[in-house]
């Protein structure tokens, strides 16, 4: 049976609009997986396999993004905050957001506010995603959020990770907390798409 890779190649060959492949083919699939993940109907292995399928298909669409024939909804810059080396949750969010039609810039783990701000200066309309797994590093989200909003006041910041909740998000002045990747997609769709 053909997978996302083969089907994408076939559709491009048949003259299907690249935008349609993205918005009518790949994105609804990723959205369904995101909702099932939230509902505990699928788990990390299934999400990663789905994301891998979408990324493989995206390789064929990249030239159309570059030429403007297909458009991504916006840019999302993500990283695990300074002092924290955990990346599974951050990677899941990055893959899910990319699979839902956004350009994702993944700054990796242990990311300082300087790195976030440098990436933002190159992509001033981007939204920032901050991830933390540890109670000892979640506090760094506050200083990073504040520094980002001081330098580029209109920037939206979304936070997530095991010890985070909406009270903490409000306390540090972030714009959104999501307990799951699909929540980040929904926040982005509402605010910038």
């Amino acid at each position: 049976m053909d997978g996302a890779d083969e089907i994408t190649i076939e559709l491009i060959k048949n003259g299907t609009e690249s935008q349609d492949i993205l918005t009518l083919g790949l994105m609804p699939g990723m959205e369904r997986i995101g909702i099932k993940f939230r509902e505990n109907k699928v788990f990390v292995p299934q999400v990663l396999m789905s994301a891998k399928a979408v990324s493989t298909a995206m390789i064929h669409l990249k030239p159309y993004f570059a030429s403007g024939a297909a458009k991504q909804k916006g840019t999302f810059i993500i990283g695990t905050v300074l002092g924290d080396l955990h990346d599974i949750g951050k990677n899941l969010v990055a893959m899910m957001v990319e699979g839902n039609g956004y350009k994702v810039i993944d700054l990796g783990t242990d990311v300082s506010s300087d790195k976030f701000i440098a990436a933002l200066k190159e992509n001033p309309d981007a939204t920032i995603g901050l991830s933390a797994l540890l109670t000892t590093t979640m506090v760094n989200m506050e200083s990073i959020t504040k520094e980002i909003k001081t330098v580029l006041p209109g920037t939206l910041v979304t936070v997530g990770g095991a010890p985070i909740n909406s009270e903490f998000c409000n306390k540090i002045g972030s714009d959104n907390y999501s307990p799951d990747p699909q929540g980040v997609v929904e926040f982005l769709n509402k605010k910038i798409a």
């Binding site: 292995p45 299934q46 599974i88 000892t136």
Partner: protein, 345 residues
């Protein structure tokens, strides 16, 4: 009744006078003696000192000798990033960098920090003959993830034979740690919380169950710790037949109780770590402990934190939990006390 004897009664599902108390003191032991996690976890002298202090302060019935899930990974060539206030983190995955499974060796008692674990166990046993010592081994799935990285999740679909070979190695590696002389062997496998029950049965159960069978043959007790949201896997975890399962705060304790007792398995948990023990006050901690005691009951239940205690957990909060566990009068008064969490906005 106290200590190992009380824990044995709970593990055998006998009615007890009070639920046994097992605080998962890991790097928090360093805090108790004024050391950071890096210094603490690399010295038998410091661990003995820190855990002894925890025993004096918290009067546990059982306690882990060392709570660090990176010991095995370090021996197998994973690079660690040490931290002042957390256990180290694995930052390289040898199998993802071209190392072959076949070149990995089972450990000897002189490898890595195994001599530290052995010395700590001997010394704690000598000084605390009545307390149950928990030996924590990294669960095979979590160790496999340390070795391979997150590719393990996709290789479960793409190359199941490879993952089976890796899991077999990781389960044999863990068994080597059983010689340390602890009373309860805890297989700590937090990463299984990220997989579904079918994947667990395919890539978890066949490799974890033999560890529990082996522990039983050696006339020791076993516990299966899974930190994280593992509600979907409680039933399949119980089917691996440990003597006890210990679960994290995000799984309802009564849900676990019903499944575990129906399968004749003891259960434990699940005091809230960051939102209560770390960030709350003494009354929050007492209320939380009482909530767990009332739900868990006096048959088969071991009260414990949901996972390893954060380093900076206030001593007063854990002492408040200790007092409540030991004193029925405090339980009664706490039950009747009006309470709004100190963390409510």
């Amino acid at each position: 009744m106290f200590g190992l004897k009380l824990i044995e009664e709970a593990l055998k599902l006998k009615e007890v006078s009070r639920a046994p108390w097992v605080p998962f003191v890991g790097v928090h032991g360093g805090k108790l003696i004024g050391l950071d996690a890096t210094e603490f976890l690399q010295s038998s002298k410091h661990i003995i000192h820190g855990i002894t202090k925890a025993i004096q302060l918290y009067k546990p019935d059982g306690i882990p000798v060392m709570f660090d899930l990176q010991v095995e990974a370090e021996i197998l060539g994973c690079n660690l990033a040490w931290s002042k206030d957390n256990p180290p983190a694995v930052i390289s995955h040898p199998l993802a960098q071209g190392v072959d499974i076949i070149s990995l060796n089972l450990p000897s008692i002189t490898d890595g920090r195994i001599p530290i674990i052995l010395e700590v166990t001997r010394e704690l046993r000598k000084n605390n003959p009545d307390i149950a010592l928990y030996g924590c081994i990294t669960g095979p799935f979590t160790l496999a993830l340390h070795l391979l990285g997150t590719d393990i999740f996709t290789k479960m679909f793409e190359d199941p034979e490879y993952i089976a070979e890796l899991m077999q190695f990781c389960s044999e590696f863990g068994v080597k740690f059983l010689e340390a002389g602890c009373d309860v062997i805890a297989v700590v496998d937090p990463m299984t919380s990220q997989i579904d029950p079918d994947s667990f049965e395919a890539f978890g159960s066949p490799y974890v169950k033999p560890i529990f069978d082996f522990v039983r043959l050696r006339k020791k007790y076993s516990s299966f710790f899974v930190c994280g949201h593992a509600q979907q896997n409680i039933e399949v975890m119980c089917d691996c037949m440990p003597d006890n399962i210990s679960i994290d705060e995000n799984i309802p304790l009564d849900y676990v109780k019903d499944i575990a007792l129906a399968k004749r398995i003891s259960f434990g948990g699940n005091l809230k770590l960051s939102s209560v023990l770390l960030l709350g006050n003494e009354l929050d901690s007492r209320k939380e402990a009482l909530f767990c005691l009332d739900l868990g009951g006096k048959k088969g239940f071991i009260i414990a934190p949901g996972c390893g205690l954060p380093m900076d957990t206030p001593i007063a909060n854990l002492q408040a939990v200790t007092e409540l566990i030991y004193d029925e009068y405090i339980q009664q008064t706490t039950r009747e006390m009006e309470h709004t969490s100190s963390l409510e906005p």
